[in-house]
């Protein structure tokens, strides 16, 4: 057996395992409910086909690496024929595994154990053609898709980039087609435009073509346009450059201000949910990202914020001693209370090492929930029924009722916290945190009072979370202990890891993607934590610094690589530095 066949089989097997996994887990079926391009292909099929194409691509890549171990980007030694063949084999193997699943599902009554292997799934897997024809069709189609994946690898880089970006944009906008349709359907826009681009279920064919062509063009020419624009800006005098930069930020701000009006009510609700996590993300970024203390009980501070706000403002007569304050007078008290709670949690765990700290804070989070649920605290916290009748937030006569109003609250709060985060980051405090994160003992030896700075991090993180919690309480009007489970902490942690620990823009992007997308896609939300879990693993293995890394953190994590590079250079040119032979 030659290397091409062998690698095709091997990588195809891995791809097949993944394809079968997403099938039996129910993802394909759930995603199949939504069309990406109306009447042409559903999201479920897109997921399946993407796996097959990627498998073909990866098989050919590993073949390339086997033949060309030095991995010089431009000098590929494999021919188109080889790529086609290996990709084809890989695609066939994936399809064969799916076909086997489809074939055995009915006779072996797989569904009695694996609940998601339903007739609907089988229909999706066999492309709606029933088992014998569908299976054959699937095999042929997958072979073609695998071969396509292989061919994409041997394309010149620019072509590869164009295809990937066209594909990604079509999928992305296909997923958001509802949002696009709602946004575009308004009197000021001629109705021909939304009709051209989107349908009630996915993009229209013409829309998909337009998006694909635009994305491909952007991928091919984008770089040169960008370079030209940059050159033009740089040729301006300094004041002009500044003006361009400020007007850029001004535009972003303007967009943010008018966003809820542009997108409408339901997307505003999503924006508000993102807002909760942006705020919490800023807070956890201080504790975990900057100070390097892995806090898994972060939800406890969110809960303390929400509960203290609820207690101070509620008109619920069941509870002892309700005070019925106004939101704005209560807010500073809430922040102080939660800050103290942060110190209280922080103090006992000061001496603990990273991993113990994580588990203990997780424990604190759970304890907070158990206590809120218990009969013991029921007279004060309302037990499992929680606290009701929390009034809305008002300024004068203006009431923050709907998401479109609450959005502005988050915008202002986020901007304030963003400002604080930026200022703290490069201040003495921020640098002390970073020093502690990199090496606590050395930091202490350099005169940093680690006790003080750790408590400060805990306190600040808690206070920021409390603002989020306070608005949460006021928004819902009712809070229960069940809203404050460990998944909140995990979401906050995931968005931090995906965005990049210690990275402030990372928090915003992470929250938008990890919280926003599952809210917009109902099918997605069931698999939300599955994907978070997978993301955490994959990010840690492949890209521990996150997608928008803070520079310093990236340096820390790749220290070893750099050391190795230095060593390699030394080994390659021993004559250049003869003194280092020992």
């Amino acid at each position: 057996m030659n290397t091409g066949t062998k690698l095709g089989l091997k990588i195809g097997l891995y791809g097949g395992i993944i394809a079968v996994y997403v099938s039996v887990i129910g993802m394909i079926e759930a995603f199949a409910e939504r069309d990406m391009i109306r009447g042409v292909v559903s999201l479920g099929h897109v997921l399946l086909f993407t796996i097959i194409v990627t498998t073909g691509y990866l098989a050919v890549r590993s073949l390339d690496q086997a033949i060309n171990p030095a991995h010089v980007e431009d000098k590929k030694k494999i021919s188109r024929g080889q790529a086609l063949f290996t990709g084809l084999i890989a695609g066939l193997v994936v399809a064969a595994m799916i076909a086997i699943l489809a074939l055995i599902a009915e006779p072996l009554k797989v569904r009695e154990v694996l609940v998601n292997v339903s007739p609907a799934l089988l229909e999706v897997l066999t492309l709606g053609q029933g088992i014998p024809t569908g299976a054959v069709l699937l095999l042929v189609l997958s072979a073609l898709l695998g071969a396509t994946g292989g061919l994409i690898f041997v394309l010149p880089p620019i072509g590869r980039k164009a295809i990937t970006s066209a594909f990604i944009w079509v999928v992305f906008l296909g997923m958001l087609s509802d949002l696009i349709r709602v946004t575009l359907s308004r009197p000021s826009i001629p109705s021909a435009i939304p009709r051209l681009l989107v349908t009630s279920n996915g993009l229209s064919v013409s829309g998909a073509v337009i998006v694909a062509v635009a994305a491909a063009l952007l991928a091919i020419y984008g770089r040169t346009w960008q370079a030209k624009a940059r050159a033009k800006i740089e040729s301006l005098p300094l004041s002009g450059q500044k003006a361009v930069r400020y007007s850029g930020w001004g535009l972003v701000l303007l967009l943010l201000v008018f966003l809820p009006g542009i997108v409408g009510r339901f997307p505003s609700e999503v924006l508000v949910n993102i807002g909760f996590y942006v705020l919490m993300g800023f807070g956890i970024n201080i504790v975990v990202g900057m100070a390097g203390m892995l806090d898994l009980g972060y939800v406890a501070f969110f809960a303390v914020g929400a509960y203290s706000m609820a207690l101070l403002t509620t008109s619920d007569a069941r509870l002892l001693g309700s005070i019925q304050m106004n939101f704005w007078t209560a807010l500073p008290i809430v922040i102080v209370i939660t800050g103290l709670a942060g110190l209280l949690v922080g103090a006992p765990v000061l001496k603990m090492r990273g991993d113990y700290l994580a588990i203990v804070t997780l424990g604190f989070g759970e304890i907070a929930r158990f206590l809120a649920l218990s009969d013991w605290f029921k007279p004060w916290l309302g037990g499992a029924q929680g606290i009701i009748k929390i009034p809305n937030i008002t300024i004068g006569n203006f009431e923050f009722i709907g998401p479109q109003q609450l959005y502005y609250l988050f915008l202002v709060a986020s901007l304030i916290v963003l400002f604080i985060s930026y200022r703290v980051k490069s201040s003495r405090v921020g640098r002390a945190w970073v020093a502690m994160r990199e090496d606590e003992d050395v930091a202490e030896a350099m005169g940093i009072n680690t006790v003080y700075y750790k408590l400060l991090a805990f306190g600040m993180g808690a206070m920021i979370a409390s603002v989020s919690g306070a608005i949460f309480a006021a928004k819902l009007g009712t809070i229960y202990p069940h809203s404050f489970n460990v998944f909140v902490s995990i979401t906050a942690l995931s968005l931090l890891i995906v965005g990049g620990m210690g990275s402030i823009p990372g928090v915003i992007v992470g929250a938008a993607v990890l919280v926003g997308l599952p809210e917009l896609l109902r099918e997605f939300s069931e698999f939300r934590f599955l994907l978070y879990g997978a993301l955490l693993i994959i990010m840690m293995i492949l890209k521990p610094e996150g997608f928008i890394p803070s520079e310093r953190r990236a340096r820390e994590l790749h220290e070893e690589d750099r050391a190795q590079d230095a060593w390699l250079k030394q080994a390659v040119t021993p004559a250049a530095n003869p003194g280092s032979s020992d």
């Binding site: 996994y21 039996v24 887990i25 129910g26 993802m27 009695e112 154990v113 694996l114 609940v115 998601n116 390097g292 892995l294 898994l296 103090a347 006992p348 765990v349 000061l350 001496k351 603990m352 090492r353 990273g354 991993d355 113990y356 994580a358 588990i359 203990v360 997780l362 424990g363 604190f364 759970e366 304890i367 158990f370 206590l371 218990s374 009969d375 013991w376 029921k378 009072n449 006790v451 003080y452 460990v486 995990i490 942690l493 995931s494 890891i497 698999f527 934590f529 599955l530 978070y532 879990g533 997978a534 993301l535 955490l536 693993i537 840690m540 293995i541 521990p544 820390e556 994590l557 070893e560």
Partner: protein, 358 residues
């Protein structure tokens, strides 16, 4: 100025120290006060306490089996395998389907013992596979990464596994079929003891003795101890370190799988994809309690935690006049973890690890 700053800093240091001392004294007083109150009130007889303790031991032996997995892995890699609770869940959840099949075909009624042994084998096998895959796919690529990186991976793995099994087997609670011979109670010296508790306790003890024999007496066990002592030297001595690590994960998985079945027998309700989270946290508590990385420690810690959790709410909390004390069972286990980590991080039996390998 510097002096002022320094004295301020010294003050803060002693503040934290003072706080911890107050906490220690306060907890001690509360525990004593609660216990004495309950004992004086005479609400529970000696028999009550004995059955609570035996129930606690049975529950604790399950924690101990899971805790061994944490401890074995920690002893070798110095990482907390946060997803170990899910390894426990995976075995039990899969074996549930075998059990259901046995119950529906009547095999269970005819051969109860054989049936349970098959469940045990299935659960142990599945848990072992999950544990080994976890090591191979998630942890091995990160062997030399900074400490928090594998921990975050493990947290991700934990949620990934929970939702994977939820997707595979569906959400909702399932219950293991009842086994006729294990129902009912034995009466020993006037105290009623439930049979299933005794069986679970004995089976767990047998497994623990087996593990001890394996680690102390076999060549692989010796290799494990060598790797735990020093990975590099062990490698120089010709030990395949990767293989030893996989073996360690496999053994941890096997014990966790068995624990899953015991849990299924002991508390038939409540098999679900999320069943591993709280027991995992408690088993970690047990491992820390006994001194993490220490095998007898994990056993002692597990049993102690089980008993503490069983009698704690009635003994301490009721004496303090806290209503609904049994709701706080999970909470006091976690509080125990916090206190152990604050005041005696090396655990009951662990003396060297905290110092050397921290």
């Amino acid at each position: 100025m510097i002096d002022v700053v320094r004295t301020r800093f010294m003050d803060r240091f002693s503040w934290v120290g003072l706080l911890l001392w107050l906490l220690r004294a306060g907890v001690l007083i509360l525990v004593l006060w609660g216990s004495i109150n309950t004992l004086l009130s005479g609400k529970y007889s000696i028999d009550n306490w004995i059955s609570l303790i035996i129930a606690g031991l049975a529950q604790g032996s399950i924690y101990a089996l899971i805790a061994l997995g944490y401890s074995l892995v920690y002893g070798i890699l110095f990482m907390i395998n946060f997803a170990h609770g899910e390894v426990f869940m995976a075995g039990a959840f899969t074996a549930y389907f075998v059990a259901r099949y046995h119950a529906s075909t009547g095999f269970l009624e005819r051969n109860p013992l054989l049936s349970v042994i098959i469940w045990l084998a299935v659960a142990a096998l599945v848990s072992t596979i999950v544990a080994v895959l976890l090591e191979r796919l998630a942890y091995r690529p990160l062997r030399n990464a900074p400490r928090l990186v594998p921990l975050i991976t493990a947290i991700g793995a934990s949620f990934f596994l929970q939702y994977t099994f939820r997707g595979l087997y569906g959400s909702g609670f399932k219950s293991f079929p009842e086994i006729e011979p294990l129902q009912g109670t034995w009466s020993v010296a006037g105290v009623n003891v439930s049979i299933v508790q005794v069986v679970v306790l004995l089976a767990a003890v047998v497994l623990m003795i087996g593990l001890n024999w394996f680690v102390e007496r076999t060549k692989t066990g010796k290799a494990m101890r060598a790797v735990a002592e020093d990975k590099e030297i062990a490698a120089l001595m010709g030990i395949d370190v990767d293989r030893v690590i996989v073996t360690t994960f496999a053994i941890g998985g096997l014990l966790a799988g068995a624990a899953g079945i015991f849990r299924g027998l002991y508390q038939p309700q409540g098999i679900s994809a999320f069943m591993g989270f709280i027991p995992g946290l408690k088993a970690f508590t047990a491992a820390v309690l006994g001194g993490i990385g220490n095998i007898p420690g994990a056993m002692v810690g597990g049993l102690f935690l089980g008993v503490f959790e069983s009698i704690g709410p009635n003994l301490i909390l009721e004496g303090l006049g806290i209503p609904g004390a049994n709701q706080l069972r999970d909470a006091i286990a976690i509080v125990l973890l916090v206190f152990v980590l604050i005041f005696r991080p090396q655990g009951i039996l662990g003396e060297r690890l905290a110092e050397e390998k921290a």
